[in-house]
Amino acid sequence: MSKRSDIVDRRNSNNLKYGLIYTEVLGWIDLGHAQGTDIRTLLNKIDAGESSGQDRYDVTYSQSMVDPTRTLKMGKFITWRIKRGRPYHERKSIALAIIMSLAMKFEGLQQAFPISLVTDSGFSGEDLVSELLGFYRVVAIQNPFAMLRPLSKEDALRRWDYYGKIGNWKNKGFNPLLFPDPAISPHVKPRIGRLPNFMQTVLPWSDFRSGTVDVVSENGNYMDSAKGGTLPYA
C-alpha cells in the first residue's frame, strides 16, 4: 500500500531499500518490491536442485505478509518439480514463470476479503512491474535506473497529485502502467506501456506437457509464525 509520503527522489533509487519512485518507462516503482533478493534465493534453490544428483527436484517459492509485531506470516506458495539438466537460460525462464505465477495469486489474496478492508495493495499499479524489475536486477542489470528515466521527487509528487493514489489504479499484468505528464497534454489518462528491451530478454517457461516441469502445488496457502516458523515452504 503506497502513500504519497513514500515518494523519494530519483537520485536515491539505488541507495534505498524502500520508497516509491516514478519512472517514465515503467511508471511507479516500489523500491521495496524491486530488490530481487527473493529471486536470488529462488535461483539458488534451482541451482542446488541441479547439483543434488536427483533425477527430479522440487522447488518451492512463496510470497507473504508479516504484521509489524512479527506475530503472523500469511501467504501463498507453489511447488514445481523440475527435471534435472536445465541449462542456465532455462533456469531463468522457469524462475520467472514461478515468480509471475505466484505474484498473481498473492495479489489476488490481498485483493480478497477481509484483507481488502485494510489495504488497497492487491494488484496496485506498481506491484507486479516492480517485482519484474527485481528479477532483471538479479539476472541482468543491478542498477538499471538510469535507463528507466526516473523523475525528481517534485515531479513525481505532481504526477501523484494529478492522478491520485496509485492503489486506486489496478494493473493485473506485468506491463507498465504509465501516468503521462498532464503538463504536456491535458485530458491524459493512464495507459499500459511496453516493457523496455532489457526486461523482455527472458521468456517465462510455458511448457508443462513435455514433463520437464510439473506443477506439484498449484496454489498453496499458509499461515505461520513470522519468526522461527515451522512450515517448510513458508
Binding site: S2, D9, K17, Y18, G19, H33, T37, T119
Partner: protein, 144 residues
C-alpha cells in the same frame, strides 16, 4: 426497563472506550508504512527495533521510517539523521554489538550483518541531502 437502558448505555460506553483505545494500534498494525519521531511515543515503542533505539544519535535532528513490504515480505526500519555525514559512531556501535561490515553490498551503502541471517543493516547517505540513513532490513522470504 430503566436498569436495562442503563446497562446498554454502559456497554456502549465500554465498547466505545476499548475501540478508541485500540484504534491507533489497529491502524499501526495494518499500516504499510509510517514516519515518526522519538516524541511520537506510541509509534516509537510499537515500531522501533532495539538496534535503532540504541543507535547513537549522531545528530540532534532525526526521524524514523517503517515500511512493511508484502509479497517478497520484508520489514524495513530506518533512522535518518539530518545535517551530518559522519558515520564513524554508527560503525563503532555496530562493531561493538558484533556486526561485521560486508565486502559487498547490493545498493550504494555499507552492508552490515550480525547473527540473525534474515537481517541486514545498511548504512549510507542520501544524495542531494546532507543526511545519514540507517536501514535495518528483515527479509522474511530468506528463510531457507
Amino acid at each position: 426497563m430503566h436498569k436495562k437502558l442503563k446497562m446498554k448505555g454502559l456497554a456502549v460506553v465500554l465498547v466505545g472506550g476499548v475501540l478508541i483505545y485500540a484504534m491507533p494500534y489497529i491502524k499501526m498494525e495494518f499500516a504499510g508504512s509510517a514516519t515518526y519521531t522519538e516524541q511520537n511515543a506510541r509509534e516509537y515503542l510499537f515500531y522501533t527495533p532495539e538496534i535503532l533505539k540504541k543507535m547513537p544519535r549522531i545528530s540532534g535532528r532525526y526521524e524514523f521510517d517503517f515500511a512493511n513490504i508484502t509479497g517478497p515480505a520484508k520489514h524495513v526500519h530506518v533512522v535518518k539523521f539530518y545535517g551530518t555525514s559522519d558515520v564513524s559512531k554508527i560503525d563503532l556501535y555496530l562493531e561493538s554489538i558484533g556486526y561485521k561490515k560486508q565486502k559487498e553490498c547490493d545498493i550504494d551503502a555499507s552492508c552490515w550483518r550480525g547473527s540473525d541471517p534474515q537481517e541486514t543493516v545498511y548504512v549510507g547517505m542520501l544524495n542531494g541531502e546532507k543526511m545519514v540513513l540507517v536501514q535495518v532490513v528483515t527479509d522474511f522470504s530468506n528463510t531457507q
